[in-house]
Amino acid sequence: MTTTAGRVVPSPEPAPPAHRLGPVERLTSTDHKNIGVLYCVTAFLFFLVGGALAGVIRLELAEPGRILANETYNGLFTIHGTVMIFLFVAPFGAGLANYFVPLQIGAPDMAFPRLNLLSYWFFAGGGALILLSGFASAGGGAAMGWTAYPPLSGLAHSPGVGPDLWILGLAMVAVSSLMTAVNLLTTVFLMRTAAMTMWRLPIFTWNMVVVAILGLVAFPPAVAGLSLLLIDRRLGGHAFDPLGGGDPAIYQHLFWFLGHPEVYILILPFFGVITEIIPVFSRKPLFGYTGFVMATVAIGALSVGVWAHHMFVTGVVDNPFFAAMTLLIAVPTGVKFFNWTGSMWGGRIWFTTPMLFAIGFLLNFLIGGVTGILLAAPALDYQLSDSYFVVAHFHYTMVGGAVFGIFAAIYFWFPKVTGAMLREKLGRIVFGLLFVGFNVTFWPQFVLGQRGLPRRYVDYPPDVGFDAPNLVSSLGYVVMAAGVIAFLVDVWISLRTRVPAGDDPWGGYSLEWATTSPPPEQNFVSMPPIRSERPAFDLRHPEARP
């Protein structure tokens, strides 16, 4: 089935109500908004699975002593890491991009709708294989860590079919990301509405452009690495086998050439989200739009040259080069912090739930970033590598940053997607539980790392300084879990007893706020004039139009 799409002809008629999709339509519709919702809902389900696995890990570590077998524990942290990184945070960003990028640039859909749906199914199929690899595979699940370094991931040490399913699933998720990247770039470059110049793009869209370019650059080497690993395991290859003339360090290069840009593929969409939120709730334009865009491009470019800071302790990389490149990234990231604080400075700040999550993001990510600078120094990294300090640093960027960005996005854009408001009081409770729970969970892990507890150990000796921080960390997990449950209750109540949101409940700035909630088929009934990077604001305040 096809429909003809054209640019909006101004119409005095109100938008027809959005068509409610049935289950089959929901799974086959190529409308970018439907695919965006599919991505976000699927990714959130994966988050619940990954979060439950984290709960079992924290239960094991709450006190010295053993509940789980070694292999079970290894499988838990392998699947937890893979699910959270590749099946939750990254696809949630892709889902938001699917839904909002065409709206923000005034396009009726993504450039390649079928490819878009194919990307989603590659993600969903790959995700199912990854889950199967951990729990339903004969002869042993995937238990080699989310990095799958050989020789641990080789057939000799991981003999079951779990690692093979994991490799196949991850390769499919990577292909999905590549297809999404091509689609996003084509859409933004070729389908913008009149006068929506690149220098008027909303920051979220700009960030997704950089993320798409990073995806195009970083995923192919990773797919190559995973394919070689599968060939080594199943077809007798020796790419990473030193006895056959191979080199396991090459796998690390290929993996981390994805792995570090991947950190920015994960976080940049949510830099974009909070940059949409902070100016709106500070009642000011973004401070330093051009500088912000340049900083995003600089972060994207530099992130490709820092992969081997994950390999300092291997002794086969040039540590000063990668330390210098890594420290350089702090500069554009610092510029962004000036942009965010400058946007709030002197504003009439409206402390809604999305804004609270955005501020929480800033505080948490600052700690994650600063500890990243510590780890960029090889001398310190040699001490802290593979310790709980790294675990804490990583979770401060990925949970304190990206996951808080996800919740900020949900509370900000839920009214646009559903036409209903989430409950503000309940939202504040969700924020409070998640913010306190997160810091209680992960701050003690910095202490554990400094005291020398290695990551990925199923047990630890009592009375050497590991007991109390581990117990506190596990209690923090309970508080976070309560926050997630409260969030699910909030969504349930808000969808059951709907409080109509109107088209623009926040006084938003970008183009999605100039159409109905939820948006109609092909997104717009009439297109407002684009005169700045804040077209919805210009529409409400014609007197302020430049």
Partner: protein, 127 residues
Amino acid sequence: MRTATKLLIGLSVFGVTVGTVYWFVTYEWTGSVLLWSFSLTPLIVALFALKHGWMRAAEPEDDPSASSATLAGEDLGAFPTATAWPEFLVLGVIATGASLIYGLIMLVVGVPLLAWAVIGLARESRS
């Protein structure tokens, strides 16, 4: 397209520069090839843009003073509303890929399913 093309060319130049610096600092092949390959991806897209976009007169989306009436009614082509082929295609990919793990017998299911889905998708996109 001009800003986008400049961005892509800039990234490509950055990749060549960093890759070359890295080579002379380390003489290490893997990283150097990866960094040089980083410059290739944006260059390919930029070359396409140069061929199809750069030389054209400024498009309404690149004109800051254009009005929405400029593009009103412009035909963007036929957009599909629904398709079930991607689901079958992905099932075909999974079954074909699983032949590496569970044996060539999986190809009996995977290859026909994959071929059917690819042909179906291609035919649907032409209709």
